[in-house]
């Protein structure tokens, strides 16, 4: 019972998989599709480590069912780099030392990516508000903000 055939496009590739209705999106990505760049942090909708884009919107994939993504477009951290070239947002985190342990980084990258798509020139306050659902327990927020600013400048 409770099995569903779903079609999801992840980073441009269409996948057809059969999933249990209770399977969470983050487990579909990590355990079924083996895209382990998306991290599981708190698993309680707080930390944002599992952030991915669902039809372009940044969402916490621990709090979405895989079946809810049926027929929709997903983007994960693996979709940022193109042909061996880092995306400007990744380059920013590298150049500005926007990570220490790196655990929150996939979520930070995806939230920042979504922010810059909607608002290419965010103010510092807008950046801080946008990442307010992503927790960095190394508390490296100053450099994370700089990293997003670097990417915004690079994309101009």
């Amino acid at each position: 019972m409770a099995a569903h055939k779903i079609r999801v496009t992840v980073n441009g590739t269409l996948h057809e998989v059969e999933v249990e209705s209770r399977l969470l999106l983050v487990h579909l990505l990590r355990d079924v599709l083996r895209l382990t760049g998306t991290h599981i942090g708190c698993d309680t909708t707080h930390c944002g480590a599992c952030t991915v884009l669902l039809d372009g919107e940044a969402v916490k994939s621990c709090t979405v069912l895989a079946v809810q993504a049926d027929g929709r477009q997903l983007m994960t951290v693996e979709g940022l780099e193109q042909d061996g070239r880092l995306h400007p947002i990744q380059e920013g985190f590298w150049q500005e030392h926007g990570l220490q342990c790196g655990f929150c980084t996939p979520g930070m990258l995806m939230t920042s990516y979504a922010l810059l798509k909607r608002n290419p020139k965010p103010s510092e306050t807008e950046i801080r508000q946008a990442i307010s659902g992503n927790l960095c327990r190394c508390t490296g927020y100053v450099n994370i903000v700089k990293a997003v600013q670097y990417a915004a400048a690079k994309q101009q």
Partner: protein
């Protein structure tokens, strides 16, 4: 954490969704954005044998003024409120409320209808909707009915919705000129539930006296609190400093919070008073008084 097993249904129409709820009764739950329901199921604080996902039903997400009401479709996400020109320009109380709900990622999924139908006294929209005098539109097997917001919250996590009814729309009377509203929330950090919260909406008459006042309190009891005594006290009075202070004192008297890690009963009631005063002051300013 993985929820226990359930059957997932993705109806394409409201009628289909209602008939699924009718068939499965108390065993079924409506899934909209899932930002309250899925954490509950994951933590096994709640259980459902059937989830009826209304997220694929077209036409349930909109924000528009029509027939003298602001109409918000139940599946409208909080982020849509934040981005709506109509809300930003004309309903700052709703914008302020949306902006303090959880965090931006949750707000991309969480729906206005879900925030109300969940019946959680810690949610933020209930207080605002009480202040605004909203109506809830519900669809069941027998058709549609409207429920005044003051009669909607019946107990902890319990609303006037029958198990086979779906909240489809929120209707807010378009405020007459001379109206203004504000929402104030005290939270320990972004995304936290309110330590205390207060919504105020006032309409001023020609002489600057209060014609109508609506006051709602967040996380101040088992259900969202409508501060009737304070509302009645304000009617007909000039909303000066002393009057607002007294109204806020009366509003806090309606608060029956419980002690937890966010604070003691005394502290929370005092914060409800302070926030009610702030919300009233800003509401009066926005209404054009002072």
């Amino acid at each position: 954490m993985i929820p226990s097993s359930f059957d997932y249904h993705a109806p394409g129409t409201l009628a289909e969704a209602v008939s699924l709820l009718d068939r499965h009764g108390e065993e079924a739950k409506v899934l909209a954005g899932g930002q309250s329901l899925l954490p509950l199921l994951k933590l096994r604080l709640g259980q459902a044998a059937h989830l009826v996902d209304i997220g694929r039903i077209p036409g349930l997400a909109y924000i528009k003024e029509e027939g003298g009401s602001l109409r918000i479709g139940a599946a409208t996400v909080e982020a849509a409120l934040e981005r709506s020109d109509l809300i930003r320009s004309k309903y700052p109380i709703l914008l302020e409320t949306a902006l303090v709900i959880a965090d931006p990622l949750v707000r991309n999924r969480a729906t206005v209808g879900g925030n109300l139908a969940h019946g959680d006294p810690a949610n933020d929209h209930p207080a605002t909707m009480l202040a605004l005098g909203a109506e809830i539109v519900a669809r069941g097997p027998g058709g549609e009915r409207t429920i005044p917001i003051a009669k909607f919250f019946t107990g902890l996590f319990t609303t006037a919705l029958a198990p086979n009814e779906i909240l489809t729309e929120i209707r807010i009377p378009v405020p007459p000129s001379g109206s203004g509203g504000a929402y104030e929330k005290l939270e320990r950090k972004v995304g936290d539930f309110a330590t205390a919260g207060a919504a105020a909406h006032v309409t001023l008459g020609k002489k600057g006296e209060v014609e109508r006042a609506g006051i709602g309190l967040t996380n101040a009891g088992p259900t969202p609190v409508k501060a009737r005594e304070a509302e009645d006290y304000l009617r007909g009075k000039k909303p000066d400093g002393a009057t607002i202070a007294e109204a806020a004192r009366l509003a806090a008297r309606a608060a029956a919070p419980t002690a937890d890690r966010r604070g003691s009963v005394e502290y929370k009631r005092e914060m409800a008073r302070v926030l009610a005063a702030r919300a009233l002051r800003r509401a009066v300013q926005r209404a054009g008084g002072r």
